[in-house]
Symmetry: C2
Subunit: 422 residues, 2 copies
């Protein structure tokens, strides 16, 4: 039976969970996969973590060199996080010809070309399924729908942001209130990575790169956080049958790629609308049509599942393959990134509650070729009315101009502008 | 560049679609997968089909022997359907060392052990992702969540049956009316395969075999069709927040495997509840948690997508691997199949509209250790009332006994009994 020696770098939540699964499932993997997976070594600066997991002393390495030089280690699992130490250690492992499996989205999003070059040169594998959401979407893109040209991919890839918007909707509470609750469990710094869409942008960068077979840098992802969302908008969208979700959207047209992370309305009957804290990716391919993959796990266990699945895959499928997006070879298309999006838009405006208010707004929008698809108007206090509009598809740049005009000409006070997906 | 020669057996809907994709995507697969896929030959008794697709005359084989003997053919795609001719041709291809990719669920459900034995002996691949639903669930089970112990898998794997129940619910129409509409497009024989759950049982047999690493014969699948579902039940379930779906359910406990295909209620907020004509599989694994995969395709294109994905996978991943469920080796657990299910149940009863009616029913149920979780009672005509009950989890055998007792003792007329999943 083939034997795989594994070293785990970092025994925090995901690394610790991976250690436990590999330890308790040995017999299961022997029986079902025909391979013996043995944790040979671990590296973790916080001594108590290794102790709490019951890692035997002889399996605790003093430094990365011990692991890199250990001939019994075939694969290195990187769960350190961040990019400084992680990058150094991963490169060292790859240089030593050891296959690397990582859950580190920032590392993959930022350094994939360098890492994959090193991996290829040393005939080592490089697997990163655990870096994208708690569902096996990377494997699906690589080996389940690889016969397809993928034209769009829309995901809810940050559980914290989705949880906050879900709470705001269900309770009618403010962003601050919902976010404060999320913060009790996490550091404020981590929250900002989630609510500002930074984490989602890394994930979208990786998913779009794999789906479109070309490097999509995280820096090219347009990003807008959820901190400015007001309960009034959640309620306004609801009236028209929409729900607000923190979406990561990647679209490929013949000429360009569009990647963006922002809150957006989707129809209440869209499969993504009922996804709560969980992760989900909805993709459109030819010939498969629409496929959605969703999971309830945003914690450590789904990430550990992905890590161990990658380890098994690496051990059981012959030569390593590398996602084309790290290549700069002529065969791989270089991408042009769209800067002006096409989308439908939701506008919430305050207008004077008098005859013709909607007509005046529509007239201004019409000058920018923006047509209204849905509208609802409600009386507010002080002789004012709230007007909610959803437009047909148009360009973001035109919406910005029209909004500026509406405000400047005092035809309406534009309270908020949000995108509507699909 | 690696070159793969393909022969397609059967140019009906799925085979024809596969031919078209392989023809129009050649450059795409060269660029993104690094392989050249060429259709070298086709076999199709209906001459017009090949002509309509524009298959060149030199690529139309006269018989299977031509294909089996053709050294340029590395892989054979089987889209004939049925098991007589298909089995013979597939075995011939495997004996010749050619990899087989098939969409034939009946063939895989019935003959997998023989086929996989032949494949292994001849070092040929055997791929059947296209046999199960229009979503890449087989690849996900094999390579996306293979690190998990799967405890349950619940699917909507027959689009026609789901479509009929959806129509009945949306329009409040009878089974006959909804089914007649489905029949206009299809032969009556094909409809019966769908509504009686025969097709779903083949699929469940394959999915459960892969998920549980053991052969789950289609004959072990408990099967109940949707023909007896009445609009009154759809409405009754709705009152309690449920929707009726044609489910394929596989569960593994420590001691046994439970596999069944029947209509069942699920909560309206369950992700499977909003799946309409499409296919979906919801699985529960440790450590991944719940993962759902759903697609909108029940037609030929998603099946063709799966076939081509399998072809690419076979060409790009070294040695062929075989799902353990064909093995009779000692390492593979032999399964015990449950015959008495545990489930929650929905009962619709007619009782006399008088004080204590519910209490009498509850008392009989209580004698069989069946407790009531939810109930709604409505006045009907002629001094009667309709009582709808959902029980807590219990055994099917106990429900049967309790129903017989209720009817015999004239405490209630049990109009229908349906299972409630989850």
């Amino acid at each position: 039976m083939k034997k795989i020696g594994v070293a785990i770098l970092g025994l925090g939540a995901v690394g610790g969970s991976t250690y436990q699964i590999l330890t308790r499932r040995r017999e299961f993997y022997e029986r079902t996969q025909g391979i013996e997976i043995e944790v040979e070594s671990t590296l973790e600066p916080v001594r108590e973590r290794a102790e709490r997991l019951g890692v035997p002393a002889e399996k605790i390495a003093a430094n990365i060199a011990e692991i890199v030089l250990d001939p019994d280690v075939n694969a290195v699992v990187e769960c350190i996080g961040g990019v400084d130490v992680a990058r150094k250690y991963v490169l060292a492992a790859l240089h030593a010809g050891k296959t690397v499996v990582t859950s580190n989205k920032e590392l993959i999003a930022k350094y994939y070309p360098e890492l994959v070059r090193t991996a290829k040169m040393n005939n080592a594998g490089l697997y990163f399924g655990a870096s994208c959401a708690g569902v096996p979407i990377v494997r699906t893109l690589l080996d389940g729908v690889q016969s397809n040209e993928i034209s769009a991919l829309i995901g809810i890839v940050n559980g914290t942001a989705n949880d906050i918007l879900t709470k705001m909707e269900e309770r009618g509470c403010s962003y601050e209130e919902a976010a404060a609750e999320a913060e009790t469990d996490r550091a404020a710094e981590e929250i900002s990575i989630n609510v500002e869409g930074i984490d989602a942008a890394y994930r979208l960068s990786i998913l779009a790169s794999v789906a479109f077979h070309t490097k999509v840098p995280a820096a090219k992802v347009f990003r807008e956080g959820i901190a400015n969302v007001s309960p009034a908008d959640l309620a306004g969208g609801k009236e028209l049958g929409y729900r607000l979700k923190p979406l990561a959207i990647a679209k490929r047209t013949k000429d360009s790629i569009e990647v963006r992370v922002h809150p957006a309305f989707i129809r209440q009957d869209h499969p993504l609308a009922s996804v709560k804290a969980a992760n989900a990716v909805f993709l459109t391919g030819d010939p498969v049509g629409d496929v959605m993959l969703c999971g309830n796990g945003t914690g450590d266990e789904p990430a550990a599942s992905a890590i161990v699945s990658d380890l098994i895959f690496a051990a059981t499928h012959g030569e390593h393959r590398y996602s084309a997006f790290g290549d700069t070879a002529a065969g791989v298309r270089s991408a042009v990134f769209a800067t002006d999006f096409t989308s439908a838009y939701y506008l919430r405006l305050t207008v004077c509650d008098e005859a013709g208010a909607l007509a005046k707004v529509a007239s201004v929008l019409g000058k920018y070729n923006i047509s209204i698809a849905e509208t609802v108007q409600k009386r507010a206090a002080d002789g004012k009315a709230t007007l909610i509009l959803v437009t047909h598809e148009t360009r973001e740049s035109l919406v910005k101009k029209a909004v500026a005009k509406l405000n400047a000409a005092q035809i309406a006070q534009v309270e908020s502008v949000l995108r509507v997906a699909l």
